[in-house]
Symmetry: C2
Subunit: 107 residues, 2 copies
Amino acid sequence: MIDMQDFEKVELKVGKVLSVEDHPNADKLMVMRVDVGEEQPRILVVGLKGHYANEELEGKLIVVVTNLEPVRLRGVESRGMLLAAQEGDNVVVLTLDRPIAPGSPVL
Amino acid sequence: MIDMQDFEKVELKVGKVLSVEDHPNADKLMVMRVDVGEEQPRILVVGLKGHYANEELEGKLIVVVTNLEPVRLRGVESRGMLLAAQEGDNVVVLTLDRPIAPGSPVL
């Protein structure tokens, strides 16, 4: 069990996927540019190959953990983590039920 | 900034809304029964009045924080928190991009 303070440490924001490319050095990874309401888009490295085509993700509203320490994945720095649900081989991204501005906080 | 351990303390699961009723003692609250993959549905108290009609939420896949300490809101115990994004007066629930089983972990 956790309390609200533990939950509030995690910064979740709406992101809008601007572009998706194959990772240059990893078959299962993609590199996304995502608008999270900041001056510059964030680069995210995500493991959705085989679950989504690159084009399917472009323009989609997603949910991003924006205050995780950056991690370098096969040579590309990821500045956030996209949230998705997993049930065996089925991986499904979280999205928004209606339009809302990129950068909107999730709580 | 947080690390993965901080993030992993928060248990997020897919929920399916089974039913939604007005809260008996609070104009702005609803009481939901939500399948989060457990034997019994969870009761959640949510503040979506004015943003969603009760019927609109029924059957929807949502995202629930399932390991928060229960809180009593105007006499009804809430055993989880639904996630939504907020931009001024616009409140939009998180949902899933494709069908997936209730109880599926989000990560």
